[in-house]
Point group: C2
Chain length 188, copies 2
């Protein structure tokens, strides 16, 4: 641990990520994570339902951030614009300082089918929340579905770009670019 | 069972669906499914890894059908056109006769988070296979990702429309409409 001591959940997450990255996800136990974080297993389970969830800390916050921004988008914004505003709000959680952590985390997820499943579920939850947010704006059922799913496609591509970090663009810029790219891809 | 006796896997699937729909998915055992189908549990496990998989029989065939059609699309087809050709090939598996079965199946899935997870995994597998197929056509990595994800959004919406059955349109027509709708949704 460095000089700065994050909160218990943060310490557990950091410890888990280090162990998953070095020993592998399957070989790591909750007891080992807790010990490395200098906490008890009981504390672990007070914060996380299981060994998987520790990697998805922040996903609720991310979803709330995005959905709140969609809700706050001007009434005149078209559905895809409202989604863009929402996804761009995620920039607050994806700054360049966070990239090394995010990359390490993604490598662990990509190496483990169980974690990939959990990630899919989080994205499906985000898709459903986006569709609901669009319906609250008066968008019709299937249009809301389609726009939300398109938003998830945009989010995935923008996030993958951001993880690579091969440009200095902010996450918000990458979202804008991904939407432009989607537009070009589906153009008649 | 009617007069027509389908193959073992088909009988198991039919029995499972009936039990899931009437007693609920959680309350149904493999033993009960096998008994209802007039088969043994051993036969069940020869065909399906678990109680979930029985509902996803045909998903491999569906994926193969779609990917083969993408591979066979004219070299001149743009990525989204190749995806459209692929998804339209799924029409062979989604005709009106199959709709009552598909509706019952979807109702069971929608009522059970564990089954929804499996469905997400099947869709993610299809997305990955579509992206690979596009890469084989020379499409760049992230464009292939984005187009494949857009294809999944189109597939979901076309399938939802088809399930509702509120029009006489074929699945292929619904795919074409969903792509047009996606184009309108993302238009600048």
């Amino acid at each position: 641990m460095g000089r700065w001591q994050p909160d218990a959940a943060g310490r557990l997450q950091q410890a888990a990520l280090e162990l998953y990255a070095t020993r592998g996800y399957d070989a790591t136990t909750v007891a080992e994570i807790s010990e490395r974080a200098g906490l008890t297993e009981r504390t672990f389970f007070r914060h996380f339902a299981d060994k998987r969830e520790v990697l998805f800390r922040g996903s609720e916050e991310l979803q709330r951030l995005i959905v709140d921004a969609v809700d706050a988008a001007p009434a005149s914004a078209r559905p895809i614009e409202a989604i863009a505003v929402g996804l761009q709000a995620a920039s607050a959680m994806f700054d360049a300082d966070r990239r090394p952590h995010s990359r390490k985390r993604q490598a662990v997820i990509d190496a483990n089918p169980e974690l990939q499943e959990r990630e899919l579920i989080k994205l499906a939850s985000l898709a459903a929340a986006l569709a609901d947010a669009l319906r609250r704006r008066g968008v019709r059922h299937l249009t809301a579905e389609l726009t939300a799913q398109a938003g998830i496609a945009v989010f995935r591509v923008a996030f993958e770009h951001w993880l690579r970090g091969d440009s200095e663009q902010s996450f918000a810029d990458l979202v804008r670019d991904a939407i432009a790219q989607l537009r070009a891809v589906v153009a008649g």
